[in-house]
Symmetry: C5
Subunit: 96 residues, 5 copies
């Protein structure tokens, strides 16, 4: 999984029937300092009622279909959590 920030929305009127009523959000991956790592994005289905600019946990691949309500849906990325804290206790300069 990785942590991203919600930065937008995708609207598609004509779409797969299983996507009806799903909220498709644009997520920008965040680096370990919770800053946008690069001008990158992906489209993920929302399963936790996430809001704009919230930091979220994203699962990818077939496991996105294990998210709540996503069984057998054609989705490869799902928002599965709102991140409250992301704490790194790495010791700089220490190898390994």
């Amino acid at each position: 999984m990785f942590v991203g920030k919600i930065i937008g929305t995708v609207v598609a009127t004509r779409k797969d029937p299983k996507l009806e009523g799903r909220k498709l959000l644009i997520v920008r991956p965040l680096d370990e300092h919770m800053a946008a790592a690069k001008n990158d994005y992906l489209v993920a289905v929302d399963t936790v009622s996430a809001g704009y600019h919230e930091q979220v946990l994203v699962v990818q691949g077939s496991s996105a279909r294990m998210a709540f309500g996503m069984k057998d849906c054609p989705v490869d990325s799902a928002i599965i959590g709102i991140v409250d804290s992301f704490v790194i206790e790495d010791i700089p300069g220490e190898s390994g």
Copy 2:
């Protein structure tokens, strides 16, 4: 998922029986400004009757087989929606 633009077609007469009658389109990934990010492409099966130069939503991996009519098909990318709007409300300069 990601958003791409349809830029061409692949024709393969000799192919897996499960691909008979499927439309195989060439999709170029688009960046967040809806411009072609790079000289890259993938071949995706069309499941929403997408047209040339339309902006489409693409799902990858095993979830491509969850798209309409694709059950048990040897496809790893499927077009599952026509994008009506792609709106980013990111605040430039704001970290995270």
Copy 3:
């Protein structure tokens, strides 16, 4: 999926029992001009009796096991079509 060119063969006498009798080909990915994009390759199982230097359609991941005769086989890439034509109608200079 992507389009590649067959450039060689891998022979492995000692191998997984489910690979017995399978033809393992070396495939070089092609860019959108049907030129070799880089010195890259992958090994794919052939399911359409592809020949040397032919341009082929390759499927990856779990969907490779959906190719003809590949059920439950330990393969992550399969050749599933011979490409007759690959036509791009992109308009250069046009953004998006």
Copy 4:
């Protein structure tokens, strides 16, 4: 699989019901010298009671759901072992 080092924790109060009670750890991939290869990370679910700064074995993709207790969970990365030794016996300068 790859070897990484645990460098932090993610807390998400609002999350997928199947993630309740799971420990979500931040893992930094290690290179072959067991040094941090780059400023990269991923979030993995812990299944072996791993501790801070321990070197761990990480499995990705659908196989993360095969880890102990993870059946049908929306996770794409799982910590499945504590690395005791990682020994390379490559001969430098030898091609291939």
Copy 5:
């Protein structure tokens, strides 16, 4: 699939129960000239009794669980063959 060379071993005493008794090897990917492409590695489970410095065929993703004896195991990479020959008959300078 890709071809790699076995360069080491990973030992993990505390690990997922399904990994008990499995041999975890460090594999370095090889380029098309059978030279180490880069300082890269992955950890794969051995299913063909491969030996040090042997050139092996590696399968990734969920298909690694299709390798002999790996059903339902939390592995995303498996060694499934010993490479006897890897022959490329590409014609240099020929585009596509």
